[in-house]
Each structure stands twice: as structure tokens, then as C-alpha cells.
């Protein structure tokens, strides 16, 4: 990969693309430009390939023990996701509808193929209330079971900053998602 072999880059893509797309979907919700975002993530990884090689604890799949290449891919994924979220935020601030413009439930009434009974819509509407950094921390913690340290390593933040962002995200989201959490518990039970 460091020598620029095209086959290595393709192998990297084929191994990790599915998980990258999965994490992007989890963090961003329905993103119409998912294909180009995935491609940008891998371009980021290729650009920073000279720095790959230091062992890291964070790996794809949401648990510890991943290799350093996987950690680099995950870092690129969160960086790109944060960029997309910031762009959405600026669009909203400038008056454009931002994410809701592309959202399948933008027209109201919920999506037709939502088996969660509206929980998914409510979930992502609540995430839209968080800052990009809070949203990243929240998604990694809830959807991937990342520890605070793993989130800090993945996003390149300090541990204190990570904890502060996660706590504020939990505080906001728990208020907004309390009925959905209760419903989910009852369904699971």
C-alpha cells in the first residue's frame, strides 16, 4: 500500500468498504451521496498511508484489537462523517433545509418501509439536535459499544473532551428519546 500498488488499494477497499458504509449510514442516517463519501474516505486513507503502521487499539467492528490499518480507516470515516455533519449544519444555518432536504421523511408522515414504527425517524431527528462532535461520540458509544478511550482515539480528541461531549449528547438524547428507549426495552423483553 505504501508503495502505491493499485491492487493493495483495491484490496483495502474491498476489505473495509462495507464497514465504512455501515458506519457512515449509522452516523449520517440516509445519505444520498453515500457512494462518493465512501470513496472520499478511502482517498483520505491513501493520502495518509505514510503514517499508518503505529499499532492502535481501535479497529473496525466496534471493538478493541483492530489493526492499525483498520484504525486509520475508522479515523478517516469519522473525520469524513464529521465534515458532512458540519456541512449540513452550515446549510441549516444558511437557511437551506440541510439533511432534511434529503431525508426520506422530509415530506412528513414517516417512511413507508420503517419497521421500527417511527423510532428511526425520531432517533435521527434527535441526532440532528446534537453538534457534529456530540453526534459522533453518541453514535460510536451507542451503536458500536466504543469505550470513551476508543472514541477519543478514533476521533483524535482528548479523553476529557470526549467524556464531556458524550455526556452532553446523552443528556440531550435521553430527553428526546425516552419513549423510544422505553418502547425498545419492552419490545426486547
Amino acid at each position: 500500500l505504501r508503495r502505491g500498488h493499485p491492487g493493495a488499494a483495491l484490496l483495502l477497499f474491498d476489505r473495509h468498504a462495507d464497514l465504512v458504509a455501515s458506519w457512515l449510514q449509522r452516523i449520517l442516517g440516509d445519505e444520498p451521496a453515500l457512494a462518493s463519501v465512501v470513496a472520499v474516505v478511502f482517498r483520505r486513507v491513501l493520502r495518509g498511508r505514510a503514517k499508518i503502521g503505529v499499532p492502535a487499539e481501535v479497529g473496525l467492528g466496534g471493538g478493541p484489537g483492530g489493526n492499525s490499518l483498520g484504525a486509520a480507516v475508522m479515523r478517516a470515516t469519522t473525520t469524513e462523517a464529521a465534515r458532512i455533519l458540519r456541512r449540513r449544519l452550515w446549510r441549516r444555518r444558511l437557511g437551506a433545509p440541510g439533511r432534511l432536504l434529503f431525508s426520506p421523511w422530509a415530506s412528513g408522515g414517516g417512511r413507508r418501509d420503517d419497521p421500527s414504527g417511527g423510532a428511526e425517524e425520531t432517533f435521527y431527528r434527535a441526532l440532528d439536535r446534537l453538534s457534529p462532535e456530540q453526534r459522533l461520540a453518541f453514535c460510536l458509544a451507542t451503536m458500536g459499544d466504543f469505550s470513551d478511550r476508543q472514541i477519543a482515539d478514533t476521533c483524535g480528541w482528548s479523553l476529557a473532551k470526549t467524556r464531556a461531549r458524550l455526556q452532553s449528547a446523552i443528556s440531550v438524547a435521553s430527553d428526546l428519546l425516552e419513549p423510544q428507549c422505553l418502547d425498545n426495552r419492552m419490545t426486547s423483553a
Binding site: 493499485p6 483495491l10 455501515s22 463519501v37 459499544d145 428507549c181
Partner: protein, 226 residues
């Protein structure tokens, strides 16, 4: 005590949403498109001498550079730009007459002739005076007074107007003065009413003399040879 996602059931909800994404399984097409884009933009770009994005960035940079150079030139040129030459008009008996370089103007015995220029400067030929517009440039002009009185008011200090009366030159900018030349007695009178006037010529010595507001000197030039 810090709250954990598990405390309020957020982790369970998040994992359910994640599993919904997995169950939906719509990623195949997106991944195929992403792979094609990645191959085209990243993998093949390694073998290209100039990447497509690099060429676009370079072209944009050149456009911006040219625009900046153009804007700088326009600003610089705009500051230096002056009309190629002042336009002169004379009002004779209430009618405007275009005046060209070299033209003689004579004021009637009972009437003044006003000579106005496009920079706002005005020269008034008093009744009976006669003068010629001998030069016009970007920075002023020159009037040759043959006889009589000319009263001048120069509007801007960027222009210097010179009135030649006999052997003397009266240069004034942003000010007002009147010059009277009587060739019969070879005498020139100056009255500075505003600003200052620099006088040069045979009658004032080697160095030009400067006269300011309120001064009205006389110059006798018997050897004018006119």
C-alpha cells in the same frame, strides 16, 4: 455520576437502529459506485502524471491569479488615469464655442469671455483682452496673453496652468490670480487673490519668484523685445 448510554436504554435503541440499517441491505449499489469512483479517482490517479482534481485546481488557481492581476491593474491604472487632454470651451456672448489649441480669443470691448476647462478651471478674458490657447496636456495648459487682463481660477492642484504675458510666465495651480499685460509700456501686473503664483522669466532674475495671496507686484520689462 456520569451517565452511560446503557442507563437510559440509549445503547439498546442505537443498536436496534444499527441492525435496521444492516437488515435494509441497500449498500450494494452504493458500494459498487464507490468502488468505481475510488478506482477512477484514487487508484488510476496514482499512475497519472497530473490528477484530474489537480488540473482543475491549477486551472482555478490560474483564473483567480489572472483575476487578481487584472483587478490590481485596473485599480492602479484607475488611480493614474487622467483625461487625455482637457477640453476647453469658451462662452462668447452667452454662446458656447469649442476652443482648440492655437486658437486666438478676443474679448469684445464691452464684454468678458469666459474660457472653461474640463477640470473645472476657468479663465476670464476681460473686455478688450486677447489671448491664445497655446497648449493643452494631461496636467494643465498654457495661455498666451497678447494684451489686456486675464483672470484665472484653477480648481485642482493636480493641474498647473501657465499664463504667458510678454517675457514672463505665471504658473498657478489651485488658486486664483489675475494678470494684466500692457505691451505698449512693457509692463505686467499680477494680483494673487488665492493660493500662490510662481513667476519666471527675464524680468525676475534667474530663480522663479513666488507670490502668495494678497500680493500684487508689477514687472517692468523694457527689454522684452516684443
Amino acid at each position: 455520576v456520569p451517565r452511560q448510554p446503557d442507563d437510559v436504554g440509549l445503547k439498546g435503541l442505537g443498536q436496534r437502529i444499527a441492525s435496521l440499517h444492516e437488515a435494509r441491505g441497500r449498500r450494494r449499489e452504493a458500494l459498487a459506485a464507490a468502488r468505481a469512483a475510488f478506482i477512477d479517482e484514487a487508484v488510476f490517479a496514482e499512475t497519472r502524471r497530473f490528477s484530474r482534481a489537480g488540473v482543475v485546481r491549477g486551472a482555478l488557481g490560474l483564473v483567480v491569479l489572472f483575476a487578481l492581476v487584472g483587478a490590481a491593474f485596473v485599480i492602479w491604472h484607475g488611480k493614474r488615469w487622467r483625461p487625455p487632454s482637457f477640453v476647453a470651451n469658451a462662452a462668447v456672448s452667452g454662446q458656447a464655442v469649442a476652443v482648440t489649441v492655437g486658437r486666438w480669443l478676443s474679448a469684445p470691448e464691452m464684454e468678458d469671455v469666459i474660457l472653461s476647462f474640463s477640470d473645472g478651471s476657468r479663465f476670464t478674458l476681460r473686455a478688450g483682452a486677447r489671448a491664445r490657447l497655446s497648449a493643452l496636456s494631461r496636467v494643465g495648459g498654457r495661455l498666451t496673453l497678447e494684451r489686456g487682463e486675464i483672470q484665472g481660477q484653477v480648481a485642482t492642484k493636480d493641474a498647473t496652468w501657465t499664463v504667458q504675458a510678454g517675457p514672463l510666465d505665471f504658473a498657478f495651480s489651485e488658486g486664483a490670480a489675475s494678470v494684466v499685460w500692457d505691451p505698449a509700456v512693457d509692463r505686467v501686473a499680477l494680483e494673487v487673490t488665492q493660493g500662490r503664483v510662481i513667476v519666471s522669466g527675464a524680468c525676475v532674475g534667474r530663480e522663479p519668484a513666488t507670490y502668495v495671496q494678497g500680493m500684487h507686484p508689477f514687472f517692468d520689462c523694457p527689454d522684452a523685445g516684443l
